[in-house]
């Protein structure tokens, strides 16, 4: 299939080159042999500049129409999420305006002022007023963006310990995630990779003698109660990883030898998020794609793909080795009762050790 596709593309390209040389040849009739652009070249390329401007606008529109309504840009599931999304939208609008205008000026001027024999350009070397204008306008716009950005950033990064956040450790290793909860005392026991003991299943290197560690709970799924602030403490045992939770607009690297942190408050339960229109549409669309793909797979005697159900995910976003592309953990946001029920089923650290 791929080979066939490649051949088709090569043939197409060969034909395209041939055609284009012909077009340029026709445009050259009567020109001298010189390889310096003449009036016909200027004209042809000037028109192509306008064509290219249209192409840029077209690709912008196509991209926004097809892929601009990404649920990941809206429908954030954390308290600080809408703040980031708003800032993102404002930035995008500014970018969009500047992009549209400057690309127009650039390509339109390239068209309008195409060279002609005998024409003379305007000797125009300087204008302090103009330059002051296009220094000051960006200064003002950027000052606004910087101030808004810094407020947003400070709000996100300043974790308020008075809110009594749920403390959860995210533990990264090649190529999976673990979560450790502080237990009833909401305090994590001390830990260091030097204390890892695979013989008694102390896989996170938790200090077995630390009283705070006894009721810690280690899980392979991350459950969070909705509406309660969570403070994540990140650790890694081997290489750099990055704990990326796109739906919550949250990310922090996990660094061997140090503990990093990030805090947020989940606001929408998994169940509620699955009901949202945008998510329902997205899931339906993905399942259609998977169904089509499954047909092909079944025809080849392979297993069909499982239907997709929406879940929040924690994914690794810092290159960490061979299976970097499959390092993920499911995140479940649920009501306090559901969370308590789930937590009650988990084993405490002291009981999880093999004696």
């Amino acid at each position: 299939m791929t080979a066939f596709l490649t051949v088709i593309i090569l043939v197409f390209i060969a034909v395209a080159i041939w055609q284009m040389i012909k077009i340029f040849d026709l445009a050259q009739v009567g020109a001298s042999n010189s390889q310096v652009a003449n009036d016909q070249d200027n004209k042809l390329n000037a028109y192509l500049m306008i064509g290219f401007l249209i192409f840029i606008y077209a690709i912008t529109i196509v991209c926004f129409v097809n892929w601009g309504d990404l649920p990941l840009m809206s429908n954030s599931a954390s308290e600080h999420g809408p703040g980031i999304d708003n800032l993102m939208i404002i930035s995008m609008v500014i970018i969009f305006i500047v992009q549209t205008i400057t690309q127009f000026l650039l390509h339109y001027f390239a068209y309008k002022y195409r060279g002609e024999k005998g024409k003379k350009a305007l000797f125009y070397a300087d204008n302090n007023t103009l330059e002051a204008i296009w220094t000051i306008i960006p200064v003002i716009v950027l000052a606004g963006l910087i101030i808004y950005g810094l407020f947003t950033w400070t709000t996100i990064m300043n974790v308020n310990e008075d809110d009594d956040p749920l403390v959860v450790e995210l533990y990264a290793q090649q190529f999976n995630w673990k979560a450790r909860y502080g237990g009833n005392d909401n305090t994590l026991g001390k830990a260091n990779v030097r204390l890892i003991n695979l013989d008694n299943a102390n896989i996170l290197g938790v200090d077995e003698s630390d009283p705070n560690a006894q009721d810690d709970v280690i899980t392979t799924e991350l459950h969070l109660p909705v509406g309660r602030p969570v403070l994540f403490k990140m650790r890694s045992q081997d290489v750099l990883h990055s704990a990326y939770m796109p739906h919550f607009r949250a990310q922090m690297n996990c660094v061997p030898g140090m503990i990093t942190q990030f805090g947020f408050t989940p606001t929408v339960t998994t169940a509620d998020m699955r009901q949202r229109e945008a998510i329902v549409d997205k899931v339906a669309n993905i399942n259609n794609i998977r169904k089509e793909k499954s047909k092909e797979l079944v025809a080849n005697g392979e297993e069909a793909l499982e239907p997709y159900v929406f879940d929040y995910l924690l994914i690794c976003n810092k290159i960490c080795g061979k299976s970097h592309y499959n390092m993920q953990m499911k995140i479940v946001v649920e009501t306090q009762e559901e969370y308590d029920a789930w937590m009650a089923e988990q084993k405490e650290f002291k009981n999880s050790l093999i004696k």
Partner: protein, 596 residues
């Protein structure tokens, strides 16, 4: 401010000792030959780098499907034509390394700094021809080592071009972190030595060897760009060298600069007290200025080519110089924006957001000045001009998204996604490449005495322009959907299944764009031998290199070096019959040198 370069003439000129094949073509000390050597080595590395990108793009679009190309090129790394996950990361890593350092640093800056600095300032050669030769051959050696590293048993370096430890430090973490990474580090250490020798030479040459009348404010913007680039290189490359040396110590001599508390494959390693974040600081202290080391020379070339082909002075010459200086200064205090989520103190994040967004101001000034330069011009649409306009276009498109990535709050969610890939490829990859192509089309006659074919040039530009947008514009959107970069396949995330189509479209554009570079390669190599012979000043430019004879002679000019009487942008100046006045033409009586 005049210099004494021409007061102590090269007396031996005209009757110097006979050159052998070896001293003329191989161990040459002539800046023009060294420029060509840089260009051709850079081109070869570029072909390797682009080929790699096409391979991993095919893997992303059609994951885990057998591909004849993989089977032929990757050998044991693609059993039955299916690409291995390790080699995928290696391809991504080496592609980045080759394109950033070997093509866009050495290939771009090395070629044009060498070619243009002596010719445009009116010097017989570089300050030290010998160091210049050593610089090229160190670059060549580092290229050879980098290519050799592709063939080691456990695979080439695969920790990403940023080679963050511990992944890059521990052979047990990844196959490529063994011999492959050792060779990578050795190659880069040699590369840095080469770059430093080159940069010192450029700086000394620009300061000391300008011809009579060539004051700093009469210099073409190309020279300003090369000069400032060299200064940034001298300031920042040594820091990368120290990072590489410390990493070598950690890897081979048991030190713990970057490593601490590591448990891998069932055992605790002895490292204690180091920090990977320290490496990130050292790396990006070079890594970010490196972006400007790549883009400033391209900006210089584009400014020169735009003025010449618009038959108009560059608009705001002084503002252009000021913005180059501002960008250079700011570039050294923004590295932390690569590290917003590295675990660095969030307050530092605020500081780096502030400094980073400031860079948008001089960048905007430059963009508006280029647009004003073509306003009311008499645009000669030579291929070099098309690439220059293309440069401004991609620089704006790519640069604008920097406003998002430089904002720490927004970076949280798009960090290390395809949004970043799209951003930096447009703003520094494609733009710098356009700058390089523009330079090649413009100065090919100066280098080889022949012209490149313009029809092929047009085809090359238009297809490349469409494909560049086709590849990198949609890429922003898969990034905003949260797709992380450097994933071998996305098939483990049904969440991203609806992005598979976009990836196929991107890859098809990449393949077409990649294959069309063959048009350029053919044009380049065929024109060296069969291109139309050039006249002395084919583009009717004002700068000094076009006053030198077409045939290369050692020492650049027969007889005396021309003196300079005006700035380099007297295009369409009122009161002159021609629409350009070369720099070596004295002012007419009563004529004012307008710009000062």
């Amino acid at each position: 401010m005049s210099t004494h370069a021409d007061t102590h003439e090269h007396d031996d000129h005209g009757h110097h000792h006979k050159e052998t094949f070896v001293t003329k073509y191989i161990f040459s000390q002539d800046h023009k030959m060294i420029a060509k050597q840089y260009l051709i080595t850079g081109t070869i590395m570029g072909v390797i780098g682009v080929l790699m990108s096409l391979m991993f793009r095919m893997q992303i679009a059609w994951p885990e499907e057998p591909n004849v190309l993989f089977e032929a090129l990757l050998g044991k790394w693609a059993p039955d034509g299916v690409m291995d996950a390790d080699i995928y990361l290696a391809l991504v890593t080496i592609h980045g390394t080759i394109m950033v350092f070997f093509v866009l640093t050495a290939g771009l800056s090395g070629t044009f700094s060498n070619l243009l600095i002596p010719l445009q300032i009116g010097a017989r050669d570089m300050a030290s021809g010998f160091l210049n030769m050593v610089s090229y051959w160190l670059f060549f050696l580092s290229s050879v080592i980098m290519v050799i590293s592709l063939f080691v048993e456990a695979g080439p370096a695969a920790a990403g071009w940023t080679i963050y430890p511990p992944l890059s430090a521990l052979p047990m973490a990844q196959g490529g972190s063994g011999m492959g990474m050792t060779l990578w580090l050795v190659s880069m250490a040699i590369f840095i030595a080469s770059s430093l020798l080159g940069s010192l030479n450029y700086i000394v040459t620009v300061i000391n060897l300008r011809t009579k009348g060539m004051s700093m404010t009469r210099l073409p913007l190309t020279i300003w760009a090369f000069f400032v680039t060299a200064i940034i290189g001298v300031v920042s490359f040594p820091v990368l060298l120290s990072a590489a040396l410390l990493l070598i110590m950690d890897r081979s001599f048991g030190t713990s600069f970057f490593l601490s508390d590591i448990f891998i494959q069932g055992e605790v390693l002895h490292y204690q007290g180091g920090s990977p974040v320290l490496f990130e600081h050292l790396f990006w202290f070079l890594g970010h200025p490196e972006v400007y080391i790549v883009i400033l020379p391209a900006m210089g070339l584009v400014s020169e080519i735009m003025a010449s082909n618009s038959r108009k002075p560059i608009f705001g010459y002084r503002a252009m110089i000021m913005s180059i200086l501002a960008i250079a200064f700011l570039s050294t205090i923004v590295w932390g924006h690569h590290m917003f989520v590295s675990g660095m103190n969030p307050f530092l994040g605020s500081v780096f957001t502030f400094t980073t967004l400031l860079i948008a101001i001089p960048s905007a000034v430059k963009a508006f000045n280029w647009i004003t330069t073509i306003w009311k011009g008499n645009l000669q649409m030579n291929p070099a001009m098309l690439f220059s306009i293309g440069f401004v276009s991609t620089f704006i498109t790519g640069g604008l998204t920097g406003i998002i990535l430089g904002d720490s709050a927004l970076d949280i969610n798009v960090h290390d996604t395809y949004f970043v890939v799209a951003h930096f490829h447009l703003v520094m990859g494609i733009s710098a490449l356009y700058g390089m192509f523009a330079g090649i089309y413009h100065w090919f006659p100066k280098m080889f005495g022949r012209m490149l074919n313009k029809k092929l040039g047009y085809i090359h530009f238009w297809v490349t322009a469409i494909c560049a947008y086709g590849v990198f514009f949609p890429m922003h959107f898969i990034g905003m959907a949260g797709l992380p970069r450097r994933y071998y396949t996305n098939s483990n995330f049904p969440l991203f299944d609806d992005l598979a189509d976009v990836n196929v479209i991107i890859t098809i554009f990449a393949l077409i764009g990649g294959v069309f570079q063959l048009v350029y390669l053919y044009n380049f190599f065929a024109s060296i031998f069969t291109g139309e012979k050039t006249v002395q000043n084919p583009w009717r430019s004002t700068t000094l290199e076009w006053t030198a004879p077409v045939k290369h002679i050692h020492g650049n000019w027969e007889g005396e070096i021309p003196h300079v009487y005006r700035w380099s942008y007297d295009y369409s100046k009122p009161g002159h019959d021609e629409d350009f006045v070369p720099q070596n033409v004295p002012l007419k009586e009563g004529e004012e040198e307008l710009q000062h």
